[in-house]
């Protein structure tokens, strides 16, 4: 009797974890790395690293502690952290459902919708700020209605900072979460459906936990982008210490009056970035 038990692909991709190719046991012997590639590669690496090294070299280490404790610095840092976190929450509330829609539902104009989502990604942030003014400004399309109705004014307020940051950072979250949703094994959702779960229950109890690592990675990315936001913020929310002056804005201002303060503020932002990168580690690399 012929046995038709052909080897089946029993190994499935671990959902939520991007494929990582481990190093082979014995490295294959290859020829020399060509100079034409090695030289530009090293220059490229140096170009990325040197400015950061410069920041470290020129930092006023002696007065660092005293400068960091200044109220203006702490105020800018607090405002940056609060507004970036608030923007990330907004992005999660609206971005995750949007990512789900793009990944799981077929509808007309989906390609256009996906293209539109990525526009803020490539749009100069200043242009985003101008666009936000035109819509949410005091005379903007929605802004005048918001002011005359519920009496809400967004431009040049902390809420405006949050709005500008959310506008710029949301695509990072949507793209990251959509990628995670596409990578997740939809057969788990099938299994849940056969057990009587509605689409909402499937999303809440199966999909969301399965793509949680992807959402977390997207949220960190989104938060980092919001933290560094400059162009849209200064255009839409202005540069008022205490209400709209976030760290990047403070850096920019300090550069003209007190360059050493600018270095200190930059160091803080650099430290936050490094911490974020360490948190993401291999998650970020691999999910494209």
């Amino acid at each position: 009797m012929t046995s038709p038990s052909a080897p089946r692909d029993a190994v499935r991709r671990d959902p939520g974890r991007p494929g990582r190719t481990g190093p082979g046991r014995g490295a294959v012997v290859r020829g020399r790395v060509p100079w034409a590639l090695a030289v530009p590669a090293v220059i490229g690496l140096a170009f990325l690293v040197l400015p950061l090294a410069g920041l470290l070299v020129r930092a006023p280490w002696a007065t660092l502690g005293e400068r960091l404790a200044r109220p203006a610095v702490l105020e800018a840092l607090r405002l940056s952290l609060v507004s970036a976190t608030a923007a990330t929450v907004i992005c999660l509330v609206f971005g995750v459902p949007l990512a789900w829609l793009l990944a799981r539902v077929d509808f007309r104009g989906k390609r256009v919708a996906r293209a539109l989502v990525t526009v803020p990604l490539v749009l100069p942030p200043v242009v985003g700020g101008v666009a936000l003014l035109l819509v949410f400004g005091r005379r903007g399309l929605l802004g005048q209605w918001l002011e005359s109705g519920p009496g809400v004014t967004l431009p040049f307020t902390t809420a405006g900072v949050v709005l500008a940051e959310a506008f710029v950072a949301m695509p990072f979250l949507v793209i990251s979460v959509e990628g995670a949703l596409r990578g997740a094994d939809t057969r788990f959702e099938d299994a849940a459906a056969t057990l009587g779960a509605s689409r909402w229950t499937v999303f809440r109890r199966i999909t969301l936990p399965l793509v949680a690592p992807g959402i977390a990675a997207g949220a960190v990315l989104c938060w980092a982008r919001a933290l560094g936001e400059f162009g849209a913020t200064i255009t839409f929310a202005g540069n008022f210490p205490g209400t709209t002056q976030t760290m990047p804005l403070a850096v920019y201002e300090a550069l003209e009056t007190d360059p050493e303060a600018a270095i200190v503020l930059s160091l803080v932002l650099l430290a936050v970035s490094v911490v974020v990168l360490a948190g993401l580690r291999d998650r970020w690399v691999g999910t494209s």
Binding site: P4, A10, D190, T194, L195, G196
Partner: protein, 348 residues
């Protein structure tokens, strides 16, 4: 329904790449039907369509007389055990089994108690708190079965329930599954490409080839009287189609003598073990004797399978010792003989 009770009554059509799936399928309460067929024959598509996970191009699906094909999967109450079980990795075994009842609106505590009962029934009460990752293949299969049965379905579908297991645990899990399926009073449809699984688990086989039912019947009947090359290969028989005239069957150019007399188109089947090979023309009276060319020799269990291709394809099983004596090699010619009493002929 008049006459006999039907639990599942379906006619399923779907467009597949290269061919159209079109089959009628029915199952009585408590009956286990195995869909058997080569890869890509449409088995899994049939299962997904029944479950509501794939579109039904035309036809109907009725369970206990009520049409369900217009309902989404979550409203059909069809239990499915998926190929690699698809236990939710972030939930414990107990939570996996309780998931269905919770979705049906059973209160949390009650659903967990119910899930515990099901885990006890499949002998896994001690693993209630384990995550799927910590379960063995056989245990995962039992949790998947408990999870599917916990919603009290009227129809249970199993997609290759043993394919993810290694050969060692397979035997044990198979007998356990057989035992549990016999306790289920609804209809069961299982998909497999393994004839042994199909024969041991099912009350009835439905063989699908290229989207059509190629043969259907009780396992013993299908095994004894294959009607397609695929089934013959599965059950390990040589199969030919010819024209019978009494005890003689003509298969394009060759005549075979068979045990039972028939008239008209027939199938002739015989086991490879019934074929004897000789280097020189043997004495005695085997009615079926012909000179054949060897196309290949390969190991087959403890024996050796010799494939003959001229004048017609035949598989012959001989012992290792006989192989050494005969010193067979591809391209050589040998004498092949089959006793008429070792053949089975049945109307085509």
């Amino acid at each position: 329904m008049g006459g006999h009770v039907v639990s599942l009554d379906a006619r399923i059509t779907a467009e597949l790449p290269g061919f159209r799936l079109d089959l009628a399928l029915s199952a009585a309460p408590g009956e286990v039907v195995a869909l058997l067929g080569p890869n890509g024959a449409g088995k899994t598509t049939t299962l997904r369509t029944l479950a509501g996970l794939g579109p039904l191009a035309a036809g109907h699906i009725r369970i206990d007389g009520a049409p369900v094909h217009h309902l989404p999967a979550e409203k059909r109450r069809i239990g499915v055990v998926f190929q690699d079980y698809l236990l939710f990795p972030h939930l414990t075994a107990l939570e996996n089994v309780a998931f269905g009842p919770r979705c049906q609106g059973v209160p949390k505590a009650r659903a967990r108690a119910l899930a515990m009962e099901w885990l006890e029934r499949v002998g896994l009460a001690g693993h209630a708190g384990a995550r799927p990752r910590a379960l063995s293949g056989g245990q995962a299969q039992r949790v998947a079965l408990a999870r599917a049965l916990a919603v009290e379905p009227r129809l249970l579908l199993l997609d290759e329930p043993l394919a993810a297991l290694d050969a060692h645990t397979r035997l044990e899990v198979r007998s356990g599954l057989r035992h549990r399926l016999s306790a289920f009073d609804g209809a069961t449809v299982l998909v497999t490409h393994d004839p042994l699984d199909a024969m041991t688990l099912a009350d009835r086989l439905v063989v699908i080839e290229r989207g059509r039912v190629a043969q259907e019947g009780p396992p013993a009947e299908v095994a004894r009287h294959p009607r397609t090359d695929y089934v013959a290969r599965l059950v390990g028989l040589n199969l030919y189609r010819g024209e019978a005239d009494g005890h003689e069957v003509r298969l394009n150019g060759v005549r075979l003598h068979v045990g039972a007399a028939h008239r008209g188109p027939v199938f002739v089947a015989f086991s490879p073990a019934a074929v004897a090979l000789y280097r020189s023309r043997p004495d005695g009276t085997p009615r079926n004797l012909w000179r054949a060319r060897i196309a290949g020799v390969e190991r087959h269990g403890d024996n050796v399978r010799v494939r003959l291709d001229d004048p017609f394809p035949v598989s012959a099983d001989i012992t290792q010792a006989a192989l050494a004596d005969l010193a067979l090699a591809p391209g050589q010619h040998v004498w092949a003989a089959v006793k008429a009493t070792e053949t089975t002929a049945y109307p085509a």
